[in-house]
């Protein structure tokens, strides 16, 4: 007896993955968290070493200490990169947490509006401070300034 295959009807339609989103936004956000995280480890560990561990640690920090760092473009760029990456990384993390726990549409909207407002204020303010900083303000008492201001 010859083997015959049963005559099956063709499936109604071939399998197709249903596209539920327009963009790959969440994929890029997921990738960004990992990429920025690696860079932030280097930036922040060095920041903690210089400001909390080396020398007199936190006790050494004052206006002159900050002026000494930001007199150099190296620390300006370092701190700018740290500000931007940390704010994007942190804001994106809190956005994820809001999406996870705030179930009502209105609650999510309000919380995220506050989040994005805080992001904008802090990033704009921080960036302006780094680039408009004057390490030797002329109207300040000399003993509060870095030594290179009077030299």
């Amino acid at each position: 007896m010859a083997a015959t295959s049963p005559d099956l009807a063709a499936p109604r339609s071939p399998y197709a993955r249903k596209k539920v989103t327009r963009t790959n936004y969440e994929l890029y956000s997921w990738m960004f968290m990992r990429a920025s995280g690696v860079v932030l480890i280097v930036l922040i560990f060095a920041h903690l070493w210089v400001n909390l561990v080396a020398g007199e640690g936190v006790n050494a920090i004052n206006f002159g200490f900050v002026a000494g760092k930001w007199a150099s473009p190296f620390w300006q760029v370092w701190d700018l990169l740290m500000l931007w990456l940390a704010m994007f990384h942190g804001t994106n993390g809190v956005r994820t947490i809001i999406n996870d726990y705030a179930e009502r549409d209105g609650t999510r909207l309000v919380l995220k509006l506050f989040l994005y407002l805080a992001f904008t204020v802090v990033v704009v303010l921080g960036t302006l401070v780094i680039f408009t900083f004057d390490p030797c303000p002329t109207d300040a008492p000399a003993d509060l300034l870095a030594s290179f201001c009077t030299a």
């Binding site: 995280g37 903690l48 004052n62 206006f63």
Partner: protein, 126 residues
């Protein structure tokens, strides 16, 4: 969005608790970051204003707070590397539990290095 899902997806143990700790430390660090940019922005007001506020960071109570901050950052950083390895290393998921104990070990070593240094700065007068 469904409210009150039946049962729970939370499985407990190392996997869930490291995820919880990652979220908690992340939120703590984020709120400190907001405050930290604002306090640093005082350098644009005047040297006196900045020194007055940064002086409060040099008190014993804030010094202990800095230990908490560094602990949160160190855990978040090391566990973040573990998450990246779970995601991208082919054997990552299999070793996620082992890697958490490596994270905890490195955390203890790092904090054992930082703690005496910070306590010396806070209470040792230098």
């Amino acid at each position: 969005m469904p409210s009150a899902p039946a049962g729970t997806l939370y499985r407990g143990r190392e996997g869930m608790w490291s995820w919880v700790a990652h979220r908690v430390t992340g939120v703590l660090i984020f709120f400190f970051l907001l405050v930290h940019v604002l306090d640093t922005a005082l350098v644009r007001v005047s040297p006196e204003a900045y020194n007055a506020v940064i002086g409060t960071y040099q008190t014993p109570i804030m010094g202990l707070g800095e230990i908490g901050l560094v602990a949160a950052i160190v855990f978040h950083a090391f566990n973040g590397v573990r998450i990246i390895l779970v995601d991208f290393w082919s054997k990552g998921p299999r070793y996620q539990r082992t890697m958490l104990w490596v994270v905890v070990g490195l955390f203890v070593v790092t904090m054992a290095g930082f703690l005496p240094r910070q306590l010396m700065h806070i209470f040792g007068g230098n």
